[in-house]
């Protein structure tokens, strides 16, 4: 592993069974991300961007190859240990927000704090929601919030534990341009404030340009770094 690499992928391949036979989504992808770096993975729909993100975050297992996340070889540990690697150290922002509909905004933000045993989860969560501009929405349920507001809750949740790495999967994909712009600003602001490593998947080159480095995927293969 490269000395200051926080995420490293080696010869990652992901295949799935489809009605037409075995489908290769990712083909022999190797890459690494340095601590504190912001990286954009870009490519057209179906190029395998999100699959790569899922593998890097340990949310999925590769068919071949391995991922070393924060010093842990994910292929050597089970699902529970992968969860422990994520707890408190990894944050996520998804295209479709992935908030728990049964919990209020503050309860959603408190979740990762409580899972890592934070002593004052409510205080932290309240501060986080205030930071994303939702101080007056803390008791609302996701269904009572707009798409932009839901994504803000998701960002507050993602940063709640001060993670070392933040994975973002098309964070503006479900939002209009204006709201999307604000969300991306917020994401980058927080990332700078907390000095987080950011790995962002997007098809929007304009967003990609804001990152330190960009990798382009096409038909499951890494085309290389873009400038």
């Amino acid at each position: 592993m490269t000395p200051d690499a926080i995420v490293q992928a080696e010869a990652l391949t992901k295949q799935v069974q489809s009605p037409e036979g075995m489908l290769t989504i990712l083909n022999d992808v190797s890459m690494s991300v340095r601590r504190g770096e912001t990286l954009a993975v870009v490519g057209v729909s179906g190029s395998g961007k999100s699959t790569l993100l899922g593998l890097l975050a340990g949310l999925d297992v590769p068919t071949a190859g391995r991922v070393i996340l924060n010093g842990t070889d994910l292929s050597q540990v089970n699902e529970d240990e992968r969860a422990r690697v994520r707890a408190g150290r990894i944050g996520f922002v998804f295209q479709n927000f992935q908030l728990l509909p049964s919990l209020t905004a503050i309860e959603n933000v408190m979740l990762p704090l409580e899972l890592t045993g934070c002593p004052l989860p409510e205080k932290e969560a309240r501060a986080g929601l205030t930071r994303v501009g939702l101080a007056d929405r803390i008791a609302h349920y996701p269904s009572q919030l707009s798409g932009g507001e839901q994504q803000r809750v998701a960002i507050a949740r993602a940063f709640a534990t001060n993670p070392q790495i933040l994975f973002a999967d098309e964070p503006t994909g479900n939002l209009d341009e204006k709201t999307g712009g604000r969300i991306i600003d917020l994401l980058f602001d927080l990332n700078r404030e907390r000095d987080t490593t950011l790995i962002l998947v997007t098809h929007d080159r304009a967003i990609g340009i804001r990152c330190d480095r960009r990798l382009e995927l096409s038909a499951g293969r890494l085309l290389g770094a873009l400038n």
């Binding site: 949310l59 999925d60 969860a83 422990r84 728990l100 919990l103 979740l111």
Partner: protein
């Protein structure tokens, strides 16, 4: 996406199929058993149909019987004195024709106290078969000769069981049976003789019905048609209760089916919201959407119901093989009716529960494609409840043959559902307030429950009903059946002593003391004949009801009582007070009152010997005839009949091994007649036991249906749970944390559902036993504990089983599905 929808469709079809299968299997099995039990009822008549008359049967009747290809046998019943030397004894004589009994078996023994066996044929010409008591009374033995009328007969066998003697508990004398061919030689039967002629008929049900209709059309005077349904009251009680239990099992499984279908239908509609929005987007009109979904629902209903019917038929057939000897002989073939009802019930219920939701689907805005929260189904759609209830009500009344039982089940269920829903909702609100006091995993579980308050309430109600059904059919049923069985405890009186004279009362009591028998309850009897109702004289022909005709023809037994016996229950009016003990009042048994169209306040004039007395009806009561204690249609206050000629009657239990003590009693008091009802009692017990074991199995089916409902209810939220598990796992929750969170939700839900379900089960059980079956029932707190325990265990186990797989699936797969 398409794959998941196909999966949903399978769930709907499966839920429907399981529900219909449960319904059809219970109904088919119950139907076959009911018909088998009816057949056993026929055994008590010795025939499927009996034509009773005071004149010999007409040749047209027998011609019609042979034309239809039915079996028949004649019997002639009358009383006569049997002589042996100087000894004489009144006997109930019965002349029987070859073929008797057409249903059931006559049992005979070679001598008194010898093992009995089914009789082959009837008494040969020149011989008689008699009750053991007649042999004792006449001081004779098997093989000796007795005189009947002008003819001498050899005593050939001792009768131990006569299938159709049930109604003869109060027959005043022992039985003597002879071959009908010997009857004329006795010279006892002359034109006008007081004899009862019976034509026993057996055969195919439809042919029996044809003959019955044919007979009814002839409107013959003094002819009574009797079948299993109006057989002897004691057996009728047993049969009726058996039928009521079976009906109950069927109705409860129908209700369960409804609940399961309701859950499935709602799920189905809920999952189609997006499809509808998309269809509207691409230009489908509301009418088009309605058409598409109506067709889908109908196809779905039909497919699910057909699968259910097939499985149901197979299941009950497997069951028949699994438990041989459930009823004597083969079970009748299954009829098509349950399948028709099952098919209709499946389709109608699915439509009934789904229609209001489909109507809602029409209104889903196309904008939902962009904003998923739009057009969501509200948690409570009043129309759904109303149509669902109307549908269920129609089905329950259609299927339930017992209207009374159906109303109880329906009314009880409605009340229960409303109570369950209210209670669950309140409890959820209460529990949700407690969520800040618990850890993250528990909070998550409780929050999930509270956030879905509407659907959680629905789920808890569904599980609660499942729990209620299971409890009702396991614990409460055991209590009910136990209560029914204890109506005939082991020491139920098996002998009646009648015709005891007032002067013998002290001596009889003394004899009982010597034998260390419990003190006898001696009940007085004054023979009286009804001559007028409300000053209008009555004749048998004034009444249509054959029972009423008999009552007027014969002398009635008037007895008196200070207070009501425990096996009697007041249904109208009031019992007499101490100061009324000499007033001319009368308490009338309900059936008797109905037959004679009597009501409170009516005046009845009776003739007792050469005196007349008029009494006013002060109350009506029901009598548990199967208590085997002396009971009376008519009771008067204790001091009213002072000075009138009375005899006394009592009943007692004497073990078979000590039956000879009774012979000693009869030797000492020769005028006292002993009536042995032991065989009859055994017959009733056997019937109850058989019905019981049948019920055990029927209930098992219903319990299975209940478990399916539980599972269906838990499955409802599995979709949401998938997403929750994936998110929690992404955030780093370990399996242990997930487990606790999920268990906490299931435990809370189980406690709520089990608690309210058990409460409902106990209340329903109490209502059924108290008001419907009239048997005492005790509430057990353990029922409640078992209910809660069972609900928590089942809900948690099913929930964990349903979600366990998710914990092993990489979360990315689930998140990407959304």
């Amino acid at each position: 996406m398409r794959q998941r929808r196909a999966g949903d469709l399978k769930v709907v079809i499966a839920a429907l199929a399981v529900a219909v299968a449960a319904l059809v299997s219970v109904m088919t099995f119950a139907d076959r058993l009911q018909r088998a039990l009816k057949f056993q009822g026929s055994e008590l008549l010795a025939a499927d149909l009996v034509v009773r008359s005071h004149d010999p049967s007409k040749s047209e009747w027998t011609a019609e019987i042979s034309r239809l290809g039915l079996q028949s046998a004649r019997t002639v019943n009358f009383r006569s004195v049997v002589m042996r030397g100087e000894d004489s004894q009144l006997a109930e004589v019965k002349a029987v024709e070859e073929g008797y009994p057409l249903r059931g078996r006559l049992r005979v023994a070679a001598d008194i106290n010898l093992e009995d066996a089914p009789a082959t044929g009837i008494p040969p010409v020149g011989t008689v078969w008699v009750d053991g008591q007649l042999i004792v009374l006449l001081n004779t033995a098997v093989g000796e000769r007795v005189n009947l009328g002008s003819q001498q007969f050899v005593i050939d066998k001792v009768i131990t069981l006569e299938p159709d003697r049930g109604g003869a508990v109060f027959a005043i004398a022992p039985r003597l049976m002879l071959n009908i061919a010997d009857l004329s030689s006795t010279g006892l039967i002359q034109p006008g003789s007081l004899a009862s002629y019976r034509l026993l008929i057996a055969g195919d049900v439809s042919l029996i019905n044809t003959f019955r209709d044919w007979m009814r059309k002839r409107e013959e005077v003094g002819v009574v048609l009797q079948d299993a349904s109006n057989a002897q009251p004691r057996f009728r009680t047993a049969l009726d209760k058996g039928e009521q239990f079976l009906g109950l099992a069927t109705l409860v499984s129908m209700l369960l089916a409804g609940v399961a279908i309701a859950r499935a239908a709602r799920n189905y509609a809920q999952r189609h919201l997006d499809t509808v929005a998309l269809m509207r987007c691409v230009g489908a009109t509301q009418r088009k959407i309605l058409e598409v979904f109506t067709i889908q629902i109908l196809v779905l209903g039909t497919v699910g119901s057909i699968i259910g019917c097939t499985v149901g038929y197979a299941a009950q057939q497997v069951f028949v093989y699994l438990i041989p000897g459930l009823v004597a002989g083969d079970l009748p073939w299954p009829s098509l009716m349950p399948a028709v009802i099952g098919l209709a019930a499946g389709v109608i219920t699915l439509v009934g529960f789904a229609a209001p939701i489909i109507l809602r689907l029409r209104g889903v805005p196309p904008l939902r494609v962009l904003r998923r929260e739009l057009g969501a189904l509200p948690n409570h759609i009043a129309a759904v409840y109303i149509t669902a209830m109307l549908t269920l009500a129609a089905l329950v009344f259609w299927v339930g043959r017992d209207l009374m039982l159906a109303s109880y089940v329906l009314g009880g269920s409605l009340t229960t559902i409303i109570l369950l829903a209210t209670l669950s909702y309140l409890l959820i609100q209460l529990v949700s307030r407690m969520r800040w006091g618990v850890g993250v995993t528990w909070r998550f579980g409780i929050a999930a429950l509270a956030r879905r308050a509407g659907s959680s309430t629905g789920q808890i109600v569904a599980i609660g009903i499942g729990v209620m059904a299971i409890l009702l059919l396991t614990l409460v049923r055991t209590d009910l059946l136990q209560a029914w069985r204890t109506n005939l405890p082991p020491e139920t009186p098996n002998h009646f002593l009648i015709n005891i004279q007032p002067g013998q009362l002290t001596d009889i009591e003394g004899f009982f003391r010597e034998q260390q028998w419990p003190k006898p309850h001696l009940r007085p009897i004054v023979r009286a004949r009804l001559i007028a109702i409300n000053d209008k004289s009555v004749r048998p022909q004034d009444f249509q009801d054959p029972f009423a005709q008999r009552v007027i023809q014969r002398a009635a037994n008037l007895s008196w009582m200070e207070s009501l016996q425990s096996d009697n229950k007041l249904v109208a009016g009031s019992w007499w007070r101490v100061q009324e003990r000499a007033l001319p009042l009368v308490s009338v048994e309900q059936q008797y009152a109905e037959a004679l169209e009597l009501k409170l306040g009516d005046r009845l004039k009776y003739q007792i010997a050469d005196q007349e007395i008029t009494v006013t009806i002060s109350n009506l009561r029901t009598v548990a005839w199967d208590s085997f204690r002396p009971n009376f249609f008519l009771l008067v206050p204790p001091a009213l009949l002072n000075g009138y000629p009375a005899s006394y009657i009592t009943s007692l239990y004497v073990p078979r091994s000590r039956a000879h003590h009774l012979s000693a009693l009869i030797k000492k008091f020769p005028n006292v007649t002993n009536i042995d009802v032991d065989a009859l009692l055994q017959q009733v017990r056997r019937l109850i036991d058989r019905v019981n074991s049948v019920l055990e199995y029927i209930f098992l089916f219903t319990v299975l249906a209940g478990i399916v409902v539980l599972y269906a209810a838990i499955q409802t939220t599995q979709g949401e749970r998938r997403q929750e598990v994936a998110i929690l796992r992404t955030l780093g929750a370990t399996r242990r944390q997930l487990f606790i969170g999920m268990v906490s939700e299931f435990v809370v839900m189980g406690v709520l559902a089990g608690g309210v379900g058990a409460l409902a089960a106990m209340m329903t059980g109490y209502a059924i036993s108290e008001y419907l079956l009239s048997i005492p029932y005790r509430l057990h707190i353990s029922t409640w504990l078992v209910g809660v325990g069972a609900a928590v265990t089942i809900v948690t186990a099913a929930g964990i089983l349903g979600t366990y797989r998710l914990w092993r699936t990489p979360p990315w797969h689930i998140l990407r599905e959304n």
